[in-house]
Point group: C2
């Protein structure tokens, strides 16, 4: 039981989701948790700011230990509960390097997705340019092709760091699922599609599936033409 | 000796510099290394692409193990050479959480610095807006104030994760030094200034100081009014 842990989270946020997957994989059940609404600006509420002064979700606390950055929280949980639940760290030097490499490349993927999907959210109307959005889309296509290539290399997969599920999957799967939710074509990106299919029914992932995606299984098609 | 390691790097790049600091701290001397020029586009050369298909520096190889993402490389080096040189991982749960938290907050600092310093580099002329650059500057000031506050908390410091030098310092110091190089005022940001002074003469940092900063000790003043 993990009654000394508190997680404040938002539905569909890859940073929140990855912490929830890590908690499940490490067998940390029964933590205090609260689903908050980004739309209602609840991530800027006093409740969040007390744990996370940046006013961002996730906000995560283990006893008196606060660790809000989602990568940090996942790594912290693996390190503190190493012998509990699923071992999430690759063992050999080569696998460990690959795990770390993919984890951090995942940030580039997430950034480039966000540059396309949140363009109108992040850029005020008077500053928007079709040419900028087009360039962001091209950068995202290039990035998606890097991931396709990584997954189809001889001996690669089925997981991101090789034969075992690892922190790389905990951290990057929500980003890939997010791309699929927004219409990523599994015909144009078959290796990403296959990876998504392999993981989507994994118990830790199913148990933490974004509730508003369950309520409304049809996502948007922002990315379908990429 | 670390003759089975190769590092291709660029001068003044925080991602390259942090890997060099990690190598020094772990006592890994004598690695093969080559200084390349971003200006001459040498990071897009065949030599780099063979190790790092993204055409970015650092490009780093240990035997057959490739790990180019700079955070990944630093964490890999600590993990593979744990008992050698300076221990770079905090021990207690609280220190470990703080170390990880600061490491990842460091990415936000680096991003916001880049959004100001490289604005004209990243945004084509026809898409530039004074309002956007102004917003980026305000976001950077807010971020710098977060770091000031972190460093002045009761019991904080002198290092980023507390009493010991750790991966958080290896990773974030180059970003802070970069801000100082571009004119950050130690009057307006005294805790960042103090932190910079504490670390700038540390042997691992002095030994890896960007050579073109040594040649030309006077930096630019882009950030002096922030």
């Amino acid at each position: 039981m993990a009654k000394d842990m508190t997680l404040l989270w938002g539905s569909g946020s890859p940073p929140c989701w990855r912490v929830m997957i890590a908690l499940e994989e490490k067998g940390l059940k029964g933590y205090k948790q609260k689903l908050l609404s980004f739309e209602k600006q609840e991530h800027k509420s006093k409740e969040v700011l007390e744990i996370n002064p940046r006013g961002q979700l996730p906000a995560f606390k283990h006893g008196n230990v606060v660790v809000n950055e989602s990568y940090a929280a996942c790594m912290y949980l693996e390190s503190q509960f190493r012998s509990q639940g699923t071992p999430l760290e690759a063992q050999s030097a080569g696998e460990q390097a690959l795990m770390l490499q993919r984890m951090f490349e995942g940030q580039t993927l997430q950034q480039k997705l966000s540059d396309v999907n949140y363009y109108t959210w992040h850029v005020p109307e008077a500053e928007r340019h079709d040419s900028a959005l087009q360039r962001n889309k091209e950068a995202l296509v290039t990035e998606l092709q890097v991931w396709e290539k990584n997954l189809q290399q001889a001996g690669a997969g089925p997981y991101l760091a090789g034969k075992s599920f690892s922190l790389a999957d905990v951290i990057v799967f929500p980003v890939i699922a997010y791309a699929v939710r927004f219409g990523l074509s599994s015909e144009r990106y078959p290796f990403l599609g296959k990876y998504y299919s392999l993981l989507k029914d994994r118990p830790s992932i199913k148990a933490t599936w974004p509730p508003h995606w369950l309520e409304n299984p049809q996502g948007m098609d922002t990315l379908k033409d990429l």
